[in-house]
């Protein structure tokens, strides 16, 4: 068996603020292989974006501190690597695209300039060569009339085209791994479908590893190979996409699936998850989901559940994981 492309192990991150310490990540671990899509699913505040930012090394310290864990990319630990080495990996090894393309692009430079910048600095290309490559990349992400649009500014692009431009930028240095943080959340459904198709196509051609961060179960079901479900800075369930939708192994996943209005079913009653996601400065004792869990018993309030193995490459952090999964 080959080693995974990216391996995150027992990652702990806390934000030290004036109002106290927020434990944002509490032991996150996952792996991604080349050519594979891992979806990281979670609600706001679950820590899915912070994990990605830690991998990229773009968290501000302070307030963020990595207190424990390892991130291995091709076997090399990034957390202990030098700043120069990390910069080399960014873009070349792992690239990232963000949710809001308008604020991720610099408004005072042309789209072309922002793509060419990395090529000139990192690859030592001339202006002319870099421009030619930028046009190729914009063509690749299917921006019509790329030759003329390369000199335009981000505000002249529509929402979908900005997201395409950002994908082109992330591909400029041929990364082995792409992290997409809610890439379609700000887009309309018809445009969302176009962008997801594009990502899927590019990933297939280049055999890239893809981490797709999202809260949309529909998108997950459509493109992911495996899913990691996050809650309160922890991965509560990790499973193959088919297994997870057929028989969820954690009460949180189960409740999420049941609370979702479906386009293809009507008249179903929506089950709700009671209560609110926990505050990260005051995470509940034991299992962090216990105050909202329909099947919580005494042990859940006192003991943090370990990751139960539910078959090959499938885990659930619930004391009653076997019971939950067999019910589905």
């Amino acid at each position: 068996m080959t080693a995974p492309l990216l391996e995150v192990e027992d990652l702990h991150v806390e934000f030290r603020t004036r109002d106290g310490v927020a434990k944002v990540l509490n032991g996150v671990g996952y792996q991604v292989n080349a050519g594979e899509t891992l979806a990281v699913l979670g609600e706001s505040g679950s820590g899915k974006s912070v994990t990605a930012q830690t991998i990229m090394g773009i968290l501000d310290t302070p307030p963020a501190f990595v207190t424990k864990g390892a991130i291995r990319f091709n076997g090399e630990d990034l957390l202990t690597a030098s700043d120069d080495r990390r910069r080399d990996v960014r873009g070349d090894g792992i690239a990232m695209i963000f949710q809001d393309a308008l604020s991720a692009l610099n408004p005072v430079f042309t789209v072309g300039f922002q793509i060419e910048e990395q090529l000139r600095v990192r690859r030592g290309m001339t202006r002319k060569d870099a421009r030619a490559r930028a046009i190729e990349l914009l063509d690749l992400v299917k921006i019509p009339n790329a030759k003329n649009r390369v000199g335009e500014y981000p505000h002249q692009f529509s929402g979908g085209m900005r997201q395409r431009a950002m994908i082109a930028m992330s591909l400029a240095l041929d990364p082995e791994m792409l992290i997409a943080d809610e890439p379609t959340t700000a887009l309309d459904v018809t445009v969302q479908a176009q962008i997801m198709d594009l990502l899927r196509e590019i990933q297939g051609e280049r055999d890239m590893g893809l981490i797709l961060i999202t809260h949309d179960l529909g998108v997950v079901a459509d493109v992911a190979d495996r899913i990691a479900v996050m809650y309160a800075g922890r991965i509560v369930e990790h499973a193959d996409v088919y297994q997870l939708f057929r028989a969820p192994g954690h009460p949180y996943t189960e409740s999420l699936l049941e609370s979702l209005p479906r386009l293809d079913l009507k008249g179903q009653e929506l089950k709700t998850i009671k209560g609110l996601p926990p505050s990260l400065t005051n995470i509940p004792s034991g299992c962090p989901f216990h105050p909202r869990c329909p099947r919580a018993v005494d042990v859940c309030t006192t003991e943090v559940p370990a990751n139960h193995r539910l078959g090959l490459d499938r885990t659930s952090a619930c004391h009653f994981a076997e019971e939950v999964v067999s019910r589905g």
Binding site: P144, P261, L263, L270, T272
Partner: protein, 331 residues
């Protein structure tokens, strides 16, 4: 019994586009709402779906009488909404209320929850005489599932879902007949969305409310609506019952929109009939001639560029604004 409460006929709202600093010239119009007609019956939910820029929020503002219409009319309980003045208009403002999208910006951070929910009573004193206000506000908080003891708290002390409940309580204060919901759940997390949707459903059956439910999320609209209108560039392109729109859509745009929504079921991967639209929605300043959708439509013919299709029954059993309307199941 289908008794109409709100009837909208050929409603148009254009915003002028002006250039110049001192001498402003009008160089065109944003055709935000461009001839919309529908009927809302008592106790019913009309879902309005469309992508950003299709005019659904402008429609909400015109229905609230926050913006005057450019032309067209609407009647509320048989009376002309836009001709109302004085006492009659005040009465109308009681009867139609709105729930806004963003629970973070639609509540004044300097006011307590009690003041926010009770503010409508300041203007409409007849609904709650001064002495009974506090009790009324607490009843409202209880109705929407908030702790009545929290009347002195400020909005920042509540989560997104709870804030949306405050917004709903405020809309309910004057016991309205119609509530316009403008994307009420799209800013909320998945696990909170269901709570607010169920609340809206319960309130409707308890209080006999009628909703105009505006959203871009087709699954949410299906769940709550009795009838649905699909909008594209300021026009309704197809309208029918929830079943007709979702099971037997006839307009190509509706079909494309439905097929673009990912279904949370991996076993359907690759088995669904997927229609991919190319390009973006054209600018509402200069919409395409004839049928607005023709620039992205795979069925477009010469006639689509010259003749605007009327919203009439062509195929199936409900109106659709397409020259080549045809039933096709995509869900």
């Amino acid at each position: 019994m289908a008794e109409p409460i709100l009837e909208v006929t050929d409603l148009v709202k254009h915003f002028p586009v002006r250039v110049g600093v001192l001498f402003k010239r009008t160089i065109g119009h944003v055709k935000a709402v461009d001839g919309v007609s529908f009927t809302l019956n008592k106790g019913e939910t009309l879902g309005v779906v469309g992508e950003s820029g299709c005019g659904k929020s402008t429609l909400a503002q015109v229905l609230m009488r926050l913006e005057p219409p450019t032309s067209g009319g609407a009647t509320f309980e048989g009376r002309d909404m836009f001709a109302m003045r004085g006492a009659e208009l005040r009465r109308l403002r009681r009867d139609i209320q709105i729930v806004l999208q963003d629970p973070y910006t639609s509540l004044n951070p300097r006011m307590t929850v009690g003041d926010i929910v009770g503010e409508p009573f300041e203007i409409h004193t007849e609904v709650a005489p001064k002495g009974s206000r506090r009790q009324k506000v607490q009843e409202l908080l209880d109705t929407v599932g908030l702790n009545p003891e929290h009347i002195h708290r400020y909005p920042h002390q509540f989560s997104g879902g709870q804030r949306q409940r405050i917004g709903i309580a405020r809309a309910l204060a004057l016991r309205p007949k119609v509530i316009v919901c403008d994307e009420p759940v799209s800013a909320l997390d998945v696990s909170i969305q269901a709570q607010v949707m169920n609340l809206l459903g319960e309130l409707q059956s308890d209080l006999g409310l009628s909703y105009v439910f505006i959203a871009h999320d087709l699954s949410v609209v299906r769940h709550l609506s009795d009838r649905v209108a699909v909008m594209y560039l300021g026009k309704i392109v197809e309208t029918g019952t929830e079943d007709q729109i979702y099971e037997r859509p006839t307009h190509p745009y509706t079909q494309a929109l439905l097929s673009a929504v990912p279904v949370p079921d991996p076993t359907q991967r690759g088995t669904r009939d997927v229609i991919r639209l190319t390009g973006d929605v054209p600018s509402p300043v200069d919409p395409p001639s004839g049928c607005h959708f023709r620039t992205r439509c795979w069925k477009a013919q010469d006639i689509c560029a010259t003749e605007e299709p009327a919203l009439i029954v062509r195929a199936g059993d409900h109106p659709s604004a397409c020259h080549f309307a045809e039933e096709r199941s995509v869900v």
